[in-house]
Symmetry: C2
Subunit: 227 residues, 2 copies
DNA sequence: ACCTGAACACCGTTCAAGT
DNA sequence: ACCTGAACACCGTTCAAGT
């Protein structure tokens, strides 16, 4: 059995030839790179998608961005700081996606709104595996570092909680404890996303959303037989 | 349900016969380690509990076991193999715990049995944080390595599925798709355990079980208001 | 202001012994 | 049979420049 073959010594330096798109963000700033912070973040997501978040190294990310590994320190404090930046951006994008999806679901149907949230969450994870692996990786902020990351996560949880409370108020959801219900829902989508990402449950990308609605729909209805 | 089976793969021999608690590591001079495999596994769990699974290094584990880092290679193929061994043992112990707990819950109450499984799972995670961090870490067997680990996980899932099927047959659970329901339940307990382990939800260890029953109990009953 | 280079202590893994 | 030692390529991080 062959070990995970290391990159044989000095890679030919993949000189990323600058990121495509983006017209010219370097107006007066005469960067050497253009936007190294962006490039490092993108490289990190790519590495995480290819080989898992634990395979990420500062040096490899810098290599992909075409710079010396020390250059990253100009934009990030250390290795964890890069992961925190990726995670924070991920939660921010996820929240935006959820909010956008909810615009299409009537407030009169709280159950459908919760399902839409679940669907958005798991689809996001499935479509952004690199970012999600970082987001769901070892907690970066136990020591109360990364307050903006913590805030991005809290924003998501608050949104879910409000939806549950709104549903209860409209008398469309049972009068459960909203905090508990938020945790339970979040746990369920997190767990499901993990199963999908790790391919413990195999599902074609296009079907991730419907799988989520099916599984979570049953959960929201409950398994216990009505008396 | 399949028996734990012998540890396949390249490990030459299990030495599992020297299981008894070594009262004192006294004895010989040249002193081959009593059970280095055991010591490495325990050290790995300790490291994972203290600093997270990603902080585990072969060299540190060997250091704690009091041997040269090369000695570990006599018992494990490589770094991943150590993590796989820890994970496999964890799932085996978890299964035993669940089975033991279920003995005290009547077959006539499937919902209580599912809650007991959930409770066992999250309590195990809470009480064995090191092992659980490894078990829930990056998937080790994507390349179809570690078949015995895969089997240990499957054994757990099969047990859950059978409980659900039994509940449906007794007409105590709604006639949901058993496979889907298994995934949903597993996802929920995995997600909840992750929230507890990472302290995103803060709860005293003694209350983990009741928190789990409360949250999952609501889920099993469903959030949707009965019409 | 932004990036590079050398240095240090650490890792996983291999080859080659030591007992 | 079980363990140690030296070596190699890699990593994160620091100090100190180069442009």
């Amino acid at each position: 059995m062959i070990a995970p073959q290391k990159k044989a010594s000095a890679k030919p330096r993949a000189r990323a030839t600058t990121k495509p798109k983006k017209a010219a963000p370097q107006a007066s700033k005469a960067y050497h790179h253009g936007d190294l912070r962006r490039a490092i973040i993108d490289a990190t997501k790519a590495i995480a998608e290819e080989s898992g978040a634990e395979a990420f190294t500062l040096r490899e990310a810098a290599r992909r961005a075409g710079v010396n590994h020390r250059a990253a320190y100009r934009h990030f404090q250390d290795k964890s700081d890069v992961l925190a930046a990726v995670a924070e951006e991920g939660f921010t994008v996820l929240l935006a996606r959820i909010v956008s999806t909810l615009e299409g679901v009537p407030a009169s149907d709280p159950e459908a709104r919760l399902l839409a949230i679940a669907r958005s969450y798991v689809e996001f994870a499935s479509e952004n595996r690199g970012a999600y692996r970082v987001m769901s990786g070892p907690r970066l902020n136990v020591e109360a570092n990364y307050p903006t990351l913590e805030e991005a996560i809290t924003n998501c949880l608050v949104l879910v909680r409000r939806e549950i409370e709104a549903g209860i108020q409209r008398d469309k959801l049972r009068n459960v404890n909203a905090f508990d219900a938020t945790l339970a829902l979040w746990a369920a989508v997190h767990g499901l996303a993990t199963l999908v990402i790790t391919r413990r449950v195999q599902v074609r990308p296009a079907l991730v959303g419907s799988l989520t609605e099916r599984l979570l729909g049953d959960l929201l209805s409950g398994y216990a037989k009505k008396k």
